[in-house]
């Protein structure tokens, strides 16, 4: 018996077995099919949108504005706000502290500009 003949006979038996699937299983398959067809009906028809034609992505409400994308966008916005806060508030506080220490310290302001002062500071610390 060659390959095709054997395959034909096996397939014949397998097809015969399809009629003996349990009713519960058949019911679940039917339910799954119905759910798939309902999902198909829910998909909105593509609207005419010449501005985005060929842009490579869809901005239809069902595809883009789903829960996962909204959460990701929210997290991105929060992280951007955090970075901005850190840059403008925390860093400016640090600069303000340095300014305050400069103004209230005993050393004159010119001492920090003088390059020899730093060299003297290093020597004196050794």
């Amino acid at each position: 018996m060659n390959e095709h003949e054997l395959a034909r006979k096996i397939v014949q038996r397998l097809n015969g077995g399809l009629d003996h699937i349990k009713q519960g299983t058949l019911y679940r398959l039917q339910t799954a099919r119905q759910a798939a067809l309902d999902r198909c009906r829910e998909v909105p028809q593509p609207a005419f949108n010449p501005a985005l034609a060929g842009a490579g992505f869809s901005v239809s409400r069902g595809r883009f504005f789903n829960a996962r994308n909204l959460i990701a966008m929210g997290l991105l916005m929060l992280s951007l706000i955090g970075i901005t806060y850190w840059q403008y508030v925390v860093q400016s506080n640090d600069i303000a502290e340095i300014d305050a220490s400069l103004l209230t310290g005993d050393l004159p302001f010119n001492a920090y500009i003088d390059s020899n002062f730093e060299a003297w500071l290093k020597r004196s610390s050794q």
């Binding site: 018996m1 096996i10 397939v11 398959l29 099919r33």
Partner: protein, 213 residues
């Protein structure tokens, strides 16, 4: 039921699209319904051969149907069989990937926690009646057929995944070599080799059981 990764994305270039299919009208709801009704039992059996778990197989078929309807319903009706098969194969593959990842986590944890003897289920509670048990009044031919079918199904389960896939796509789904190769993502030569090896293995397994078709 939740299938996480959607790896059923199919690029247009991965499937051969002849000029005939380009001219074909898009599938309507009736065609999609008819197609799913025609393929669902075979799809379930295919998933069962691979997964050996009825609930998982039903979930895989349902997911494949949902993905097909959701993403590819607008494709021509002639493309539906190949698309559906590709989605189903990917869904089954995802299931095994998740099983592997889950085993990585659950095995060490269960080893640490240990099993509680009192929680063990009584196997008699979940024991199902044998499908090949002879109901009263069933003729001997019918019993013999069901036993042969069971042996064939077990032989198919024993085949390596790619061989089984090629054999079923080629002969049960009646795809030609090019279509089966497109669904499996391999060359046409590989499909022929897998089919030939599957047929030889099945013939040997059936001969071993004393089955002559």
């Amino acid at each position: 039921m939740s299938m996480l990764a959607n790896r059923a994305t199919i690029t247009k270039s991965s499937l051969p699209m002849s000029s005939t299919t380009r001219r074909n009208p898009l599938a309507n709801r009736k065609e999609l319904s008819d197609f799913l009704a025609a393929v669902e039992r075979r799809a379930f059996k295919q998933a069962m051969f691979a997964m050996r778990d009825e609930q998982a197989a039903l979930d895989a078929v349902q997911d494949a149907m949902l993905k097909l309807a959701e993403k590819y319903a607008a494709r021509p009706a002639t493309e539906l069989p190949m698309l559906f098969q590709r989605i189903l194969q990917n869904t089954v593959r995802d299931y095994f990937r998740r099983q592997k990842v889950r085993a990585l986590w659950t095995t060490p944890i269960s080893a640490l926690v240990g099993g509680d003897e009192s929680d063990e289920r009584d196997p008699l509670e979940t024991l199902e009646a044998q499908s090949n048990s002879n109901p009263q009044g069933a003729p001997p031919e019918q019993l013999e057929q069901s036993q042969t079918l069971e042996i064939i199904e077990k032989a198919l389960q024993k085949l390596p995944q790619r061989q089984r896939q090629a054999f079923l796509l080629r002969y049960w789904e009646e795809m030609d070599v090019a279509e089966a190769a497109a669904v499996m993502g391999c060359s046409q030569g590989s499909v022929k080799t897998h089919c030939s090896r599957a047929a030889h293995a099945l013939a040997a397994l059936l001969k071993e059981k004393g089955i002559s078709l």
